[in-house]
Structure formats: structure tokens, C-alpha cells
Symmetry: C2
Subunit: 340 residues, 2 copies
């Protein structure tokens, strides 16, 4: 089962958790500086390190050669956060090891040689770290990482050096956004070494109240300590968000209900739907479910549809290069999901 | 059964038909010129002419003294077109004879002493005329009308003199309105002695593509001939409206469907609804039903709700003087109607 068809712990605020570890092979330049042969060597060695490990994990993972993929195919897996947008650039030979349930994706020759990325539904960074750590050990059985006793793991960008770890959660913050307290929170979190961004990472805008919160600190502390501190910060965001939702609801119950129910009505009836509108209205429906106003849909149903309706995913599944035809198909998909 | 819970002939375009006859008693000044005693005499004589006629009709009609009604109560029956807005003015003693099914209303001391008004669902002016004519004969059994051999029936306003008859239909013209051909049609109809107005008569704007079409000619021809000519004109409007709907639908099917379905979605989910928005969106839903896009609602259901949600009707039924509370109640009523 795909991870995003589940609704995990604190699923009313946290859609998903993610931990990624940046690693590089010793003695080979970082991808952007490596020649073609070296890039290929990275792909082969890392691929073999996992697939030929004899581990049970190897059976659930397949290798994907990004150089033979169409742009929209790469875009589709980027929309699902399985690869980063940087991986779209085809000037470097790139590969991906992906588990059947999409919980684990290992990006090869992104900014670093190896980026181990583990995802989970809801607020479950421990599960992510545990999976990423296991894969890290597995790869290290057959390759030697670039490592410095003083610094830790060496990475292309110095901000990732040390643990090479970045933890993040995708959160739904309508309460903090509508009440206008989000900007103040973003400022105070940044002083704690935590950034808040839009759904698609750096520089992207928040779509439908969805944000990514991630730790920036990678150096000078053990993974477990960094993770623990980050988890506490996320807990406090969850608490504040729930508080603001309740306050918002109590201030003008009917106006809020009206807005959320209208979005639900539109999603379950519209014939044409842009991805932008769909994301916004799905966010309203999500809030409606979280507040107990909308009862006949489950959060899990929303998690899947949130990815399904993104442009490249529709293009990939239904082969629709025309944006109008995608709007028609998107509305159809959403209507079906809203009814079940 | 109330007439507006039915869907009559050509119900996809014509919501209702109406015929009214203006009559005055001989030897008594028109209501605005009559003194209080004379006004009361009109009320008593007309009331008795119907209620004490011994006719079967008398059993189904009740007398309502407008002078003891609250403004919002009068407003509520005006919203249902049972009295004209002029009847709201309490400086003249006014009365109403109303049949149980609301098909017949006899306005006493409006602009004329007597205005016999007969309504029917759909396009059925013959039924209206036949009922009004029968009541006219009944009243004439016991009172003498102001009548001139040359002119015909004498009326307060000379434009009503002669037959004293005005026929009208309430029509739904989204095709002609959206396509922009309505203004041209209004111009050419006015040259035929036919006027097109908004839902609430003279000077009112069209609400949700609803219009009133009525004949202006009352003089120089027999009732039957005037009616026949007017019916032909309405037939041609019906034909043109259907043509424009089909054309509109064929031009951009999905865009139109999207609009109509969104209105349906909003009406079946909104928590707050103004009467203006409700009328517009109900009109979209009506069009959706007429085009076969919306299948689980019947036109009859819309006819009733169209009246039910008007401000004074909600005020009257639920005693809600606050507009916000009415918006809440209106949304509730509409949601229920959209579900059945």
C-alpha cells in the first residue's frame, strides 16, 4: 500500500513526515563536478549496493534510470516528492531506487551522490529515520562514504554537512494562515533553525494552506538529538494550529462552515477544475473533516487525491497534453473521490 | 394543492401563467378617490358577491382584511404574486379574496375596485382566462360594473380600459440572456404591444433569468383574440429560448455544465445564502434540469422553493427578523430541497 493512502498520527495537522540523509562516495567528485564515467560509476555502485545486498529490502525496491524518462514522467514523480525538482535536469546521469510503497526513495546523483529519503503518513519521524538509517547501513556495507572525523559526512553544500540529515513534515495550517499568525510563527521558527516553506520546497508558495517545515541544523549534534528537538517544535506548531482552528470556529461558526461546505459542494459537482483551485478547495475540505463539519469523507481519501490531480500525474496516467482536458479529468477524479 | 407545486405545459421555459381582469363598481369613485365609507362599501359588496353566491367556488375562497395585517405578512403574499406591491399601502382600505390553492386571488381596492387574478403552472393562459371569466360572471350576478358601450370596462388607468384584461407569463430565459439576444427581443416585442419585465413587475430587474412577459393591449379587440395573439408571441419566445439554450450548450458544453453544476453543488452545501444568490443559482439549477444535466431534481421542486426562500416568506414562516438568521434558514431550506 502506498504510504499516502494512510492517515497517520496527528493526521489532522501533519500529512506526512520525511527524513533524508545526504551521502557521498569517497574519492569521486560531487555529481556536478564528476565526469560522465564517474557519474555512471556512482549509479552502478549504489544500485548494486542495494539491489545485490541480499537484504529483504532489495526485493521491494526497483531501479529507475531517469535519463530514459520523459520530462512529464519525471515531473510526475517530482509532484509526489519522490525526486526533487533538481533531478529533472538531464545534464547529469541520474537514477532512482524506489520502493513499491513509495516510502523509500534513494536519489542518485542529485546534488550529492546519494540522498536516502524515507517518508511516512502523519507525524512519524522516528519511522522515517529508522528506515533511512537502515538503508544507510546497508549501502555502507559495500561502499565507503566521504567522511571527516571532525565534520562528519561531507556533502556538496556545506549546510548539509555533518549528519547530512534533514527532517521535515508536510503540514496543513489553515488556522494559523487564516488568522494571520503564520508569519510571526515562521519568523520565530527560523530563529530556532527551522524553516517553513510552500508545498514544493524552497521558493515555492504555500498551496491550499499546505506547508513544509524542516530543520536546518545538520552539524554539531547527533541525529537523535536533532530529531528530538525538531519533533518538539513540530508538536508546538500542531498545538498552536489546533488552538487557532478552534478560535476561528468559535468566532464565526457559520461563516467558516459556509466556506468549507461550499468548497466541498464545488469539488463534488464541478466539471472543470484547475489544479490550483482544486488544491485550495481540497484544503478547505480537509479543514472541514478535521473540524468534524464534513463527515462522509476520510482524510486518507484526500491524501491520495492531493497527488493524483497534479498536472504531470494526470498527464502520465491519462496521456492528456491539453490543459483543458486535464481540467475536465481532474474534476472527474475529484468528484469520484468526494462521493465515496 | 398549491398551483406552484406543479410543473405545467412548456415548464422548461414557462413557470406560470396569469390572467387578470380589472373591474370597477358603477357609481363609486376609483379607490384612490373614494372616501373611507365608499372603500368599505366596495369591500363588503364584492366580498358578499363571491362568498354568498352559493357557488362551489365560494367554499374554496377566504376573505383577508389587509388592514389588520403586518407589513411583512403583506410582503410575503406580495412575494408570491398574490397581491401587487401597491396593495401594501395602508392608506386605502383593502381586502383580498384568496382560494385555498392560490390559483385565484381577487384584489379589492387596489388601483381598481376589483382585480380578478387567476394563475396556473406552466403555459396555460386558457385555464387562467376561463377561471377569471367564471369569477367575473359570478361577481356580475350581484353588482353592476362601470361599463361604457363604446369603450368597454372603465378602469382607473386608461391603459387598462376596454377588456380590462392583462395576460402574462413568468418565463425562464437563460439562453436568451446569456447569449445577449434578450434586449433585441424585448425591443421587438414592445412593438407588438408586449412588455418584458423583471420578476416583480414594472421597474424590477430580472432575477436569475426570470422575466414577466405581458400584453399591453386591452382595447379594441375581444379577450379571446387578444389572448390568441399573445399566446402566439409567447410560443415564439419559447422556441427562441430553446434554440439559444441548445446553441449555448453546443458552443462550450463543459463550461456551461461546470457553471450549472457548481451552482447545484453550492446550493446543496452552502450554510449561508442570500435571497439574491439563491435566486441566481436556482436559475442555474433550473437550466441544468431543463438541459438534462441535473437529473435528480424535478422542476416542481424548484417552483415551490423559489417562493419559499424570499425574505418575507421566511420571516412569516419562521419569525426571523434578523437577515443573517434568514440567510442561515434559507440555506437550510434550499439544501433540503436539493437533496430530495
Amino acid at each position: 500500500m502506498m504510504w499516502y493512502t494512510e492517515c497517520g498520527k496527528d493526521g489532522d495537522v501533519v500529512l506526512s513526515s520525511r527524513v533524508r540523509l545526504a551521502r557521498n562516495l569517497k574519492g569521486i567528485p560531487f555529481p556536478a563536478r564528476a565526469d560522465e564515467k564517474q557519474q555512471e560509476e556512482v549509479l552502478t555502485r549504489c544500485k548494486n549496493a542495494v539491489l545485490e545486498s541480499g537484504s529483504t529490502l532489495a526485493d521491494t525496491v526497483k531501479y529507475i534510470d531517469l535519463s530514459v524518462m520523459q520530462d512529464y514522467e519525471k515531473q510526475a514523480i517530482a509532484e509526489r516528492h519522490l525526486i526533487s525538482p533538481q533531478m529533472m535536469d538531464s545534464r547529469i546521469k541520474r537514477g532512482l531506487l524506489l520502493s513499491d510503497d513509495n516510502r523509500l526513495s534513494i536519489l542518485l546523483n542529485e546534488e550529492d551522490h546519494i540522498r536516502i529519503q524515507a517518508m511516512a503518513a502523519g507525524f512519524d519521524l522516528d519511522a522515517c529515520f529508522s528506515l533511512a538509517d537502515r538503508v544507510d547501513d546497508l549501502i555502507e556495507e559495500s561502499v565507503e562514504y566521504a567522511f571527516d572525523e571532525q565534520i562528519g559526512y561531507l556533502t556538496c553544500c556545506p549546510t548539509n554537512a555533518g549528519t547530512g540529515m534533514r527532517a521535515s513534515v508536510m503540514v496543513h495550517l489553515p488556522g494559523l494562515t487564516i488568522s494571520g499568525t503564520i508569519n510571526q510563527m515562521i519568523d520565530s521558527l527560523s530563529q530556532l533553525g527551522v524553516t517553513v516553506r510552500g508545498l514544493f520546497g524552497e521558493g515555492s508558495k504555500a498551496t491550499g494552506y499546505l506547508y513544509q517545515i524542516s530543520n536546518q541544523l545538520t552539524l554539531g549534534a547527533a541525529e537523535e538529538d536533532i530529531l528530538e528537538k525538531f519533533k518538539q517544535i513540530v508538536e508546538s506548531v500542531i498545538g498552536k494550529e489546533r488552538e487557532m482552528r478552534t478560535r476561528l470556529y468559535n468566532t464565526d461558526k457559520y461563516k467558516l462552515e459556509d466556506r468549507l461546505m461550499r468548497s466541498y459542494g464545488i469539488l463534488s459537482h464541478a466539471v472543470l477544475l484547475s489544479s490550483e483551485e482544486a488544491m485550495k478547495r481540497l484544503s478547505d475540505v480537509r479543514m472541514g473533516i478535521e473540524l468534524g463539519i464534513i463527515k462522509n469523507i476520510k482524510l486518507e481519501q484526500l491524501n491520495e487525491v492531493t497527488y493524483e490531480i497534479l498536472p504531470a500525474n494526470i498527464m502520465l496516467k491519462y496521456n492528456l497534453p491539453d490543459a483543458n482536458e486535464r481540467d475536465l479529468k481532474r474534476a472527474e477524479i475529484v468528484r469520484e473521490r468526494m462521493c465515496s
